[in-house]
Symmetry: C2
Subunit: 173 residues, 2 copies
């Protein structure tokens, strides 16, 4: 019985991979409308630091924005638009009060990162993502990519900062 369960799991997993790959390929081949990023860029947690950010309200997020070498170089040289190959990562956590720090400081003043919520990427490829300002957008919850409906909301908002090549984050000196 155990063996059959295991076998079924393997089949289900494979089926999932096939379905996922097929849908990603389909989306990549469509060529109409925006194309989204479905894979987490390797090694992003070790990229260099660009800036931090905090959003209040429903998001209540604490963000670290990191960049690969191409993005960091462009930021430091003040180059806009970003060149092809640039990738910017936004790592998000809950914005929470630090009880352990406040206890030491003797007052409620300290805020830190809580549980991780999502990781987002902007991937610059002026040909591949021509229909969305040269940027491919990605959003992952627990390593799983968000669906098309969700990803469709990225570009319209980022398009509002065209003078910053669709990138909200500035470089922190």
């Amino acid at each position: 019985m155990k063996r059959i369960s295991k076998l079924l799991m393997v089949v289900a997993t494979l089926a999932g991979i096939v379905t996922f790959t097929a849908s990603a390929t389909q989306s990549a081949l469509k060529g109409d409308g925006p194309i989204f990023v479905r894979e987490i860029p390797a090694g992003y947690r070790s990229w260099e630091f660009i800036n931090v950010a905090h959003e209040e309200g429903n998001l209540n997020s604490f963000a670290a924005i990191l960049g690969n070498d191409v993005a960091i170089k462009a930021y430091r040289e003040g180059k806009l638009p970003f060149p092809d190959g640039a990738i910017i990562a936004a790592l998000h956590w809950k914005f929470v009060s630090s009880e352990e720090n406040n206890k030491v400081f003797g007052r409620a003043q300290s805020f830190v990162t809580g549980p991780p919520t999502n990781v987002q990427f902007m991937v610059k490829d002026s040909k591949k993502y021509a229909s969305t300002g040269g940027w491919g957008f990605a959003h992952f919850n627990d390593g799983k990519p968000a669906d098309d409906a969700f990803l469709s909301t990225c570009f319209p908002c980022h398009a509002k900062v065209k003078d910053r090549d669709l990138v909200f984050t500035r470089y922190a000196p």
Copy 2:
């Protein structure tokens, strides 16, 4: 006249360097009480990212905490105490509301880094800094090290988190 002014400036600068070096050497040779870090570790802005933090109140700060390779390895492996050679950097900016982002979002929700305020370091050397828990403390405003009176306040507060080897910041996954 111009030439004399320039010459005086050079002399003044050299005198400043000599005085600074002499006082740093004196402090390093004293060997009584805590010894502080007087030089900014090279290349820290490119170190890997550990976490972010925000302090309310008078500080009103936004921080990014970065680490050199030794520190990052220890964090990822959950090793405590930190090994000799570990250096942790805390980059501080003012915590400010982002008018330009709020305008795009249509509501006041976005906080970003304002002007840089200071950079702090903790340098692990269990022999050199034995009297302060194995950590040397540093604080720089505009590249200039803080005085002894200011640096004397670092250790007593950090000593309160002995179970975290005197380091407040945890690693953000």
